[in-house]
Subunit: 292 residues, 2 copies
């Protein structure tokens, strides 16, 4: 990962680490049951594409099986329904071929071309996690690797990370038996990773956290509280029900509302394009300030 | 669903209801956090294919985004890596086409053909759930619909269903705040659905439950206990670590060990083929006994 960062930085590219998807918190060490956080990984997968379009290289730290850049276009359909069989030409001896039906996925050729360019260019480094502890370890390693490129590194922490966990020492080995009656769970607090990330692991980087609430009334206070606590650069604040059409980018001095209009929705504009545009500009200014 | 059952029964087909994947148990009514049960849905998706091969029509009650019959072949790869772009012929004006690379997915044409046959024949009725309560309601409705065909209906309950839940009345509306400190959860027992299913909803049907344990030592006792409690026809017992290569089909009078040999694995035989073969024979005998 350190080579990925230095190589892209040498080529004049910035590098963003995107975290995406929810973390799994096991309730048993041989895990049958776990706690999870709601997240399809859509925000992260989608943002990765826009960061690449903006000239960034992307480390994509994502939950196993969550949405993935480019192939996310298959997420709402059954792949099989997008495929059609063409009979081969017997005379020439050509075999049956399976084609993607362009009526089902009109953009497939364009998106596939882009996917291959990104892959061939080594612009996307995918890393998978499932559990909270995998996430925490990988984020630490990634942060230390990216610290080598200083302010050119951005952290875009969109993953839905659990606030609670059961320590290994308090976890039963085997599947909890329902014959033992109702279940009482005591969960400990997960240490806030933002604190060592900003202070110790990548102190020169441009760091963005995400704040998701279900109650709009407390959202901005929570976002400002996080900025004050961790002293990072920005919080993307959003409410569960409206997250696809409305976010607020909060920094210590500014507060930008990004809103998707009906016109935008009609034109298939995604709010992630606006978020990424806002933050890459802010990252620009941040780098220039550090240099001056 | 009732029309699906009677129509297939009239055509001489048996109908199996397969449940597949894990259930989601929300911790908040505007859900950010939830409890889940480990299950990719592989067992159910895979079994559905073998039941169809054995002449059954299948109601596939599965967790949203869990593995699906036929398209499960894409589950271990990124779809994009299986696709290739061919340039259209400019002279004839044909457009670019996107093909499935047969080197990545050698069986794709065969599987796709099968998928279309099954779809055109109306042999697979997919129904999705996410939460435990959706699962329980849909299973009840399905059981009552299938009861119309009596012993020709099979229930193959492979889903990983939570034993615990938080009642709506005890659930907070909004996202639980980590600033409130460590989390204490009290979970109630989920009523055992097998009991009304066997007694009231589909009393003539052939019912198979699944028992997954992490501790092999208690597995068979648990399976026999379930048979004794619910008086259904069979339990497929398996241990988490060995579930893909070893199961025991337990009935009140028999106990069949099904084991995948190294030779089987080499020949890509799946244990679900053996499970389905064992159970369809048992279902045969069950129907004949009812008739005599």
């Amino acid at each position: 990962m350190s080579a990925f960062a230095t190589q892209h930085a040498a080529a004049g590219r910035r590098v963003v680490l995107i975290t995406s998807g929810g973390t799994k918190v096991p309730l048993e060490s041989r895990t049958v049951r776990f706690l999870d956080n709601f997240s399809s990984g859509r925000r992260g997968a989608c943002s990765a594409e826009y960061f690449i379009d903006s000239g960034y290289a992307v480390v994509f730290l994502h939950r196993h099986r969550s949405l993935y850049p480019y192939s996310r276009m298959f997420s709402t359909i059954n792949v099989m329904d997008a495929l059609q069989l063409t009979s081969g030409d017997e005379a020439s001896g050509s075999a049956d071929e399976v084609l993607v039906n362009p009526q089902v996925l009109p953009n497939i050729a364009k998106v596939l071309k882009k996917y291959h360019e990104v892959k061939d260019g080594g612009l996307l480094l995918p890393i998978e996690f499932s559990t909270l502890s995998e996430y925490l370890h990988l984020l630490k390693a990634a942060a230390q690797a990216l610290s080598t490129i200083g302010p050119k590194a951005m952290f875009y922490l969109a993953a839905a990370v659990s606030d609670f966990y059961i320590p290994a020492s308090e976890m039963p080995e085997h599947k909890i038996q329902s014959s033992n009656g109702p279940l009482q769970l005591s969960l400990n607090m997960v240490p806030k990773i933002l604190s060592p990330l900003v202070k110790d692991w990548a102190p020169q980087a441009f760091v963005i956290s995400f704040k998701l609430e279900t109650d709009a009334a407390i959202l901005l206070d929570k976002a400002r509280g996080a900025l004050k606590n961790y002293r990072h650069q920005a919080v993307v604040a959003n409410v569960l029900d409206s997250r696809r059409g409305y976010v607020v980018v909060v920094t210590p001095k500014t507060q930008d509302e990004l809103i998707l209009t009906e016109e935008d929705v009609k034109n298939e504009v995604e709010i992630e394009e606006m978020i990424v545009s806002n933050l890459t500009s802010a990252h620009n200014r941040f780098i220039n300030q550090q240099a001056s």
